[in-house]
């Protein structure tokens, strides 16, 4: 199908984009990579009165690391993250997860800010932002504010952004000294995830784990950090009984749903299976890091 009619504005700056959003009073949508918005327009599931194209806004395409924080501009394309030496060195889990997004064409266009604003519950990048403890900067008419990925992502395709706010930057704590692991289930290569699990942790010199964060996607209205389950890993060597308890706690924290890809029951069944696989991968990566 074809999109319904709309007005088109090419914003030259964040200020202009925010002003346009305000002017259209919630009837305007920002167009970044367009890999989610344009299908919604084509299917007429979204019918904005105005599309504000932010692709020519300057200064939002940088990837920089300073003082242990990696700052990524909202318009950084997935393919840039995929190939960035800064990301490979400081956030290897993000570099790994971004390869699971869509396909080559999608990754060349799609942006980090757009992916977070779209808030797909199965999206790899919202999940990475939650797992890695990212902080999102949003600009509105009144200035900027910072919110955690968990505060941003409210539910399926819903964020806590006001209608006249725009994500400008995503900051990740550099994960030096930690290892990460990721797995997802898809019906087909490159399809939306049925379930996705990401984990990071810090292996201590004595072999015990610290600061483990496990996050799940596709099994609730939004990706979430399974905090209680993650706490069970602290100080352990991730022995089989610990892993089983973590898997159960993750399943308990999830609110799986049924859709065209899988039933809620199947999703619940997958949770402990894939949590165990990801934790086994975490342990393997620790051994590799130690070599």
């Amino acid at each position: 199908m074809k999109p319904p009619p709309f007005a088109y504005v090419r914003a030259a700056s964040v200020e202009e984009a925010v002003a346009k959003l305000r002017e259209w009073e919630g009837e305007a949508r920002l167009l970044a990579g367009g890999q989610s918005l344009v299908p919604l327009l084509n299917m007429r599931l979204a019918r904005p009165a105005c599309v504000v194209d932010v692709n020519r806004v300057e200064g939002l395409d940088g990837v920089h690391e300073e003082d242990g924080v990696v700052r990524i501009g909202a318009l950084v394309r997935h393919a840039t993250l995929e190939l960035s030496p800064v990301i490979a060195a400081t956030l290897p889990l993000l570099a790994r997860m971004v390869r699971f997004v869509g396909d080559r064409q999608v990754r060349l266009r799609g942006t980090l800010g757009g992916s977070l604003a779209h808030a797909d519950p199965t999206g790899e990048l919202p999940l990475a932002a939650v797992a890695l403890g990212a902080t999102v900067t949003a600009r509105g008419p009144g200035g900027i504010r910072e919110l955690s990925a968990g505060e941003l992502l409210e539910g399926p395709y819903a964020t806590s952004l006001a209608g006249d706010e725009m994500i400008t930057q995503v900051a990740f704590p550099a994960r030096a000294g930690t290892v990460g692991a990721f797995a997802e289930v898809t019906r087909r290569h490159g399809d939306f995830a049925v379930l996705a699990v990401a984990a990071v942790g810090e292996p201590g010199a004595d072999g015990a784990w610290r600061s483990v964060r496990i996050a799940l996607g596709g099994v609730a209205g939004r990706p979430f950090h399974a905090a209680e389950a993650s706490a069970l890993a602290a100080g352990t060597h991730l022995e089989p009984d610990v892993v089983a308890a973590i898997g159960e706690a993750c399943a308990g924290a999830a609110e799986p749903y049924s859709d065209i890809r899988a039933s809620a029951e199947y999703r619940r069944h997958l949770i402990p299976v894939y949590v165990a696989r990801v934790l086994a991968e975490l342990a393997r990566h620790r051994l590799e890091a130690a070599l």
């Binding site: 999109p3 007005a7 890999q35 344009v38 299908p39 327009l41 299917m43 064409q105 999608v106 266009r109």
Partner: protein, 160 residues
């Protein structure tokens, strides 16, 4: 509500100017405004990849871009590969490897593979498959397409 807006774009090396509705998809701009029917349209929701063209040398699905977005940019379609009678080496590789049956997906595979060649990096078979994963083919089972692209990239590397 949707006033027509001016778009100036370089398509296959030629400057074109049109006034379009903002909602016009790049795929439809290429086909209906410019009459370049080599770019095919399938799902119109970014899944099948049929409409892949190059924008600033990068493969994109032209059903997921609005025509006004390419204002001031360059677009390359399959028509650019063989302007004369002779096939482009990539097209020749597809012919030799029997890499098409119905041919509907072929322009998209050609443009995606052409971009890989222009990047000039060596890719193994697995990586080629991953790079091509955004274009679907319902006839061939992909083996011959990967063969053709592998052959083309090999010849291209050898010729440099």
């Amino acid at each position: 509500m949707s006033e027509r807006i001016a778009v100036s774009v370089t398509v296959n090396g030629e400057a074109v100017e049109r006034e379009v509705e903002p909602r016009l998809l790049l795929a439809d701009f290429i086909r209906h405004e410019l009459g370049l029917h080599g770019t095919h349209v399938g799902c119109e929701q970014g899944v099948c990849g049929m409409c892949t063209v190059l924008v600033e040398g990068q493969p994109v699905k032209s059903c997921l871009m609005l025509a006004p977005q390419v204002d001031g940019l360059s677009v390359q379609t399959v028509e650019s590969l063989a302007p004369g009678e002779e096939l482009h080496p990539l097209q020749q590789a597809f012919r030799s490897a029997h890499a098409l049956q119905c041919g509907y997906c072929t322009p998209a595979f050609l443009m995606t593979a052409y971009a890989i060649g222009e990047r000039g990096v060596a890719l193994d078979r697995e990586a080629i498959r991953e790079e091509l994963a955004g274009v679907l083919c319902r006839c061939t089972g992909y083996q011959n397409i990967v063969d053709a692209v592998e052959r083309y990239l090999g010849e291209r590397g050898a010729g440099r």
